[in-house]
Amino acid sequence: MEMRRTPILGMWGSYRTRHQAAFEESRYSLRVFLKDRLALLGVCLILATIIVAVAAPWIAPYPDQGRGASNVKERLEAPSRAHPFGTDASGRDVLSRVIFGARIPLMISSVVVAAVLIIGVPLGGIAGYIGGWIDELVMRITDIFLAFPALILAMALVAFLGPSLRNVAIALVITWWPWYTRLVRGMAVSLRQRPYVLAARTMGVSQWTIIRRHVLPNALGPVVVQVSLDVGTVILEVAGLSFIGLGARPPQPEWGLMVSEGREYILSEWWISTFPGLAIFLLVLACNLVGDGLRDVLDPRTKR
C-alpha cells in the first residue's frame, strides 16, 4: 500500500483520493465478477442487446417494417438472404422487428425497476427503522399485495386500466414494490440495533439522516442482487402479458406479441414465432447469469 501525502488544507486531495476506498473496492469486485465466465457472457449479451436497441434504425434491414409498416407483397416468406429470419403474415421482415423489439423490454424493465426502487426502498427503510404503527401499516399493505399471485394481479390491473405497454409497466410496479419493501425492512430492522446506528443516535443525528446515511446504504447490497435477478422476470412478464394481448398493441414490434402473432403459423411458418421467442430466451438468460454473478460478488452469504 503506497503512502499518501498528508493532505494540506486548501489542497484537500482530489475527488479520486477522497473516494479511493470506493474505487479500490469496486475494482476488486469487478475483478471477481469478471472471473465468472457465465456472468461475463450475460453482460456481453445484454450489452449487445442495448447496442442493437439503440442502433436499430441503422442496422435493421427494413427500418420502417421494423416499426410496423406492412408489406403484403412478401407475406410469410421463409428465411432467405433478403430476409434472414423470414417475414410474417403482414410481409414484415422478422429480423427488423426483432431488432426494434429489443427496445421495449429494456425500456420497460428499467422504468419498472427504477419505480420499484424509488417506492420500495425508502418505504422499507422507514418501516423497519422507525417501527411501531408505521411498520405495522406498511407491512399489512404489502401483505395484501403479496396475497395475490403476481402475474394474476398484473393481468387484472392491466385488464382494468386497459391494455397498453404503459399500463403493463404500472401494473408491474404495483405488484413488485412490496417485495422490495419487505426486503429492505428486514435489513433495516437488523441494522437498527447496530452500534454505529446507536452511535449516530447519541450524536443527535436525526431519524431521516440515519435512515438515509446509515441504514439504506448498508441495506442496498441484497437489493441490488434482487434487482438483477428480477429484471429477467420483468422482461418475461412484459412478454407474457403482450402474448395474451394485454400489453403491446399491434403493430408494435414487441417480442411477446410477435410470438403470439406467429401462433397460427407455428407448424408451417415456424420462423415467425421462433426468432422473437429466442430473443426473449437469450435476454432473460443473460439477465439471470448477470444476477447470479452479482450475487456471488455482493452477497456475503455465498462468499467462499
Binding site: G13, Q20, P195, Y196, L198, A199, T202, M203, G204, N218
Partner: protein
C-alpha cells in the same frame, strides 16, 4: 455537584406478542439504580451479562426509555427536559462501543465518520471542519494518510481509535465506554487504555466505564459499582471494593478472575449456577439463590443499598460477619505475574506475590 447523577433509575422492557402487541412479560433490566460520577472521574459499572450495566448506559445515552428515576447531567434532569433541549444536553455525552468494526458504518470513510458529529452537532463546514477532523485524528494517534479509507481496512485497535475520535468530536464532558477493549488483544488493549488515560487527563473527561473484566477496571476506575441482575449490590472507591469487598457477589466475581500467576490457582469455582432470568428475578435479595451465606431474611426482603464501611452495600450480612477467608481468595486471584529482567534478577525465584503491597497510585 457531580457531573452525572443517576437516581432510582428503573428500566423495564415489555415482551410483546401477537397482533395486538399486548405485553406478556416484563424484563427487569435495571431496578432503582443510583450512582454519581464526578467531573474528571471514572466510574466503572461491573457485572456479568444480564446484570443491566449496558441497559443503564443506554438509558443515560437516551437509547431506551426508563420507567422511573432521574438522570441529572450538568445539573439538568435529562428525563424531564423537552425533546429538543434533551438532545442538545446529550451532545455533552458520547459513547464508544465494544466492537470496533460494527460501531463504524462500513460504507463511510474515516473522514466522514469523524466529521459526522461535527456536521450534525455544531454545523461545522469547510476548512474549520477539516482542521477539526485532522486535530481529532492526531489526538487519538492516527495518521492522516488514511483519511479516505474505510473501517474494514484497519485493525481493531485503529478502528477503536477512530471511534474514540468520533466520540470526542463534540468535546463531551462524559464519555460512556461500553466494554471498549474487550474485543481487543491485550497488547492493543493496553495501548487503548493508555490513550484513554491520556485523553482524560488532557481534556478533563469523565468516563462511565462499562466492563466485565475486573483487571481492566482496577487499572482504570476511581469508583466501581457492581451490578447483579439489574441492581447495584456494592459500590465505592476502587481500592475499597477490590481490597475489602463485603458483598458475597463482589467477592465471587473477584475470585473468578483467572490470575496470570500459575502458582495461585483458585481452589474451586467461586460461584455455581447461572444468572437467573431477569423476567422473573428471585424475590428478596436477587443474589440469594447463588449466595453461600444466604439467610432466611435474604429470601424475603431485598436489602437496601446503604452506606456502610466506606462504600454503599446492599447485603443483609452484618458488618461483624467474617468474610476474611473469601477476601483472601479474592486477593489471591488478583496476584500478578511479575517479569523481571533476567540480568537484574538475583535468583531464579521471583518474589512472592501473595502479599499485596500497599499501593498509593494515582488513579484516572
Amino acid at each position: 455537584m457531580p457531573l452525572l447523577s443517576v437516581s432510582d433509575l428503573t428500566v423495564h422492557f415489555n415482551i410483546r406478542r401477537g397482533l395486538t402487541r399486548r405485553s406478556i412479560d416484563v424484563v427487569h433490566a435495571a431496578d432503582e439504580v443510583s450512582f454519581s460520577l464526578e467531573r474528571g472521574g471514572t466510574l466503572a459499572l461491573v457485572g456479568e451479562s444480564g446484570s443491566g450495566k449496558t441497559t443503564v448506559a443506554h438509558a443515560i445515552l437516551g437509547l431506551n426509555k426508563p420507567q422511573a428515576g432521574s438522570i441529572v447531567f450538568r445539573d439538568r434532569d435529562l428525563l424531564c427536559l423537552p425533546k429538543r433541549e434533551r438532545r442538545a444536553a446529550r451532545r455533552g455525552m458520547q459513547v464508544v462501543f465494544q466492537d470496533p468494526y460494527s460501531s463504524l458504518n462500513p460504507r463511510m470513510t474515516v473522514h466522514d465518520l469523524v466529521a459526522e458529529p461535527l456536521r450534525v452537532g455544531s454545523r461545522m463546514q469547510g476548512d474549520e471542519l477539516r482542521e477539526r477532523v485532522l486535530e481529532l485524528l492526531e489526538m487519538v494517534g492516527l495518521g492522516t494518510q488514511h483519511l479516505w479509507r474505510r473501517p474494514h481496512e484497519f485493525s481493531g485497535g485503529q478502528c477503536q481509535r477512530i471511534a474514540i475520535a468520533r466520540a470526542l468530536a463534540l468535546s463531551p464532558d462524559l464519555v460512556v465506554l461500553d466494554e471498549p477493549t474487550s474485543a481487543l488483544d491485550v497488547s492493543v488493549q493496553a495501548r487503548i487504555l493508555t490513550l484513554l488515560h491520556r485523553l482524560q487527563r488532557e481534556l478533563t473527561l469523565s468516563y462511565l466505564f462499562i466492563a466485565h473484566d475486573l483487571a481492566v477496571v482496577e487499572s482504570v476506575a476511581s469508583q466501581v459499582a457492581v451490578m447483579y441482575l439489574g441492581t447495584i449490590v456494592e459500590s465505592g472507591p476502587t481500592e475499597v471494593i477490590f481490597n475489602d469487598a463485603r458483598h458475597p457477589y463482589t467477592l465471587a466475581l473477584l475470585a473468578s478472575v483467572p490470575s496470570p500467576d500459575p502458582e495461585h490457582r483458585s481452589e474451586g469455582a467461586a460461584l455455581s449456577g447461572d444468572v437467573p432470568s431477569a423476567i422473573h428475578p428471585p424475590g428478596g435479595c436477587r443474589f440469594h439463590p447463588r449466595c453461600a451465606f444466604r439467610m432466611d431474611v435474604c429470601e424475603r426482603e431485598a436489602p437496601p443499598l446503604v452506606d456502610r464501611r466506606g462504600r454503599r452495600l446492599a447485603c443483609h450480612l452484618p458488618d461483624s460477619f467474617d468474610l476474611s477467608a473469601e477476601q483472601e481468595v479474592a486477593r489471591l486471584a488478583r496476584a500478578t505475574t511479575t517479569v523481571e529482567e533476567p540480568g537484574r534478577r538475583p535468583s531464579a525465584r521471583p518474589r512472592p506475590t501473595t502479599e499485596v503491597p500497599p499501593k498509593t497510585r494515582r488513579r484516572w
